[in-house]
């Protein structure tokens, strides 16, 4: 039980360093168990954007924190993909360049996981196979229309 958790932890840890490097174009990321009480202790997140000095997570910018969180999410998904994943504007803090990196990630992972993403960002929309538009033609009443199909218009 303890060994099984430790194995999975090491896999996510290594995945995280991997996904972080892919999304940030370098740098490094790590996960550390707070103490030897593996099954009950907390987990510390350590992150260093490329070229910068290692500092606490709180000093990172809004976008760097958002992208680190996304890297961790994908690190977990890489180890154990869920059948589907629903994401509500998780790329809100990212600038356009980072949104495009995120969108590329979505495309790669969509082979193993179905993604439903609520978004305002063009980069995320461009990665989608299908688009639903939500509107309130009649005030207060939501209506949905299909906007784009895979390989179509």
């Amino acid at each position: 039980m303890k060994e099984q958790f430790e194995e999975k932890f090491i896999i996510i840890k290594n995945n995280f360093n991997q996904t972080f490097k892919e999304l940030f174009g370098g740098g490094f990321a790590d996960l550390k168990l707070e103490n030897d009480d593996i099954l009950t202790c907390g987990i510390d997140i350590i992150v260093q954007p490329p070229g910068k000095k290692l500092q606490s997570l709180s000093l990172l910018s809004g976008g760097e924190r958002g992208l680190s969180a996304i890297a961790l999410l994908f690190a977990i998904l890489r180890m154990k993909p869920t059948p589907f994943c629903v994401l509500d504007e998780i790329e809100a803090a990212l600038d356009d360049a980072n949104v495009n990196r995120f969108a590329k990630f979505l495309k790669d992972y969509s082979k193993d996981t179905q993604f439903i993403v609520i978004t305002h960002r063009k980069g995320s929309m461009a990665a989608a196979d299908m688009l639903y538009g939500v509107t309130m033609e009649e005030k207060g009443i939501s209506k949905v229309i299909s906007l784009k199909l895979k390989g179509g218009n």
Binding site: K8, G42, C85, Q114, M125, M130, E138, S142
Partner: protein
């Protein structure tokens, strides 16, 4: 085990029935502020068994029933149905797809159905156990919630890892 269909009627701003079909791959949901996108997210959480009104942005559970507008009366019932592919028989049913339905009446009465057969909420949460589908874990990330994965309360993150492990 991908999502095939989501039907929403009477849930939050969905006074008129909305029927969404999903395919494998990536589906984007777009629209102006306040149009109902996060309400779709909430409906998925709710039909999968979410019991906290606060998580659904309400103060009591019946806040999720369509309350009416300046020109329309409120409704007496909210209903959401989620259909999931079962072609690999990951669920203990002989059907090629599983439909989970949840209803809440203004009276406070609730109904739960699996493939149109009445059941308890417990049956729905047990159905999804160990599939990676559910209200815990990391398959549903709500608006403004992505940073929680970095939470300084490392106990929060442990839940995530245990779900994954």
């Amino acid at each position: 085990m991908y999502l095939k269909r989501l039907e929403i009627k009477g849930f939050k701003s969905f006074a008129d029935k909305v029927d969404l079909e999903f395919d494998k791959g990536i589906t984007a949901i777009v629209g102006p502020n306040g149009s109902g996108k996060s309400n779709i997210y909430d409906s998925i959480k709710w039909v999968l068994g979410e019991q906290s009104a606060k998580t659904l942005r309400g103060s009591k559970m019946d806040d999720i029933i369509f309350a009416g507008t300046e020109s329309r009366k409120g409704l007496g019932c909210a209903e959401v149905s989620l259909t999931i592919d079962n072609s690999k028989k990951m669920f203990p049913y002989d059907y090629s797809e599983i439909t989970v339905t949840r209803r809440l009446y203004k009276s406070g009465e609730s109904e739960y159905l699996i493939n149109n057969t009445q059941c308890r909420l417990k049956d729905i949460t047990e159905l999804f156990m160990d599939t990676g589908i559910g209200t815990d874990g990391y398959s549903l990330i709500g608006q403004g919630k992505i940073e929680e994965i970095l939470s300084s309360k490392s106990e929060d993150r442990r839940m995530l890892f245990e779900e994954a492990a």
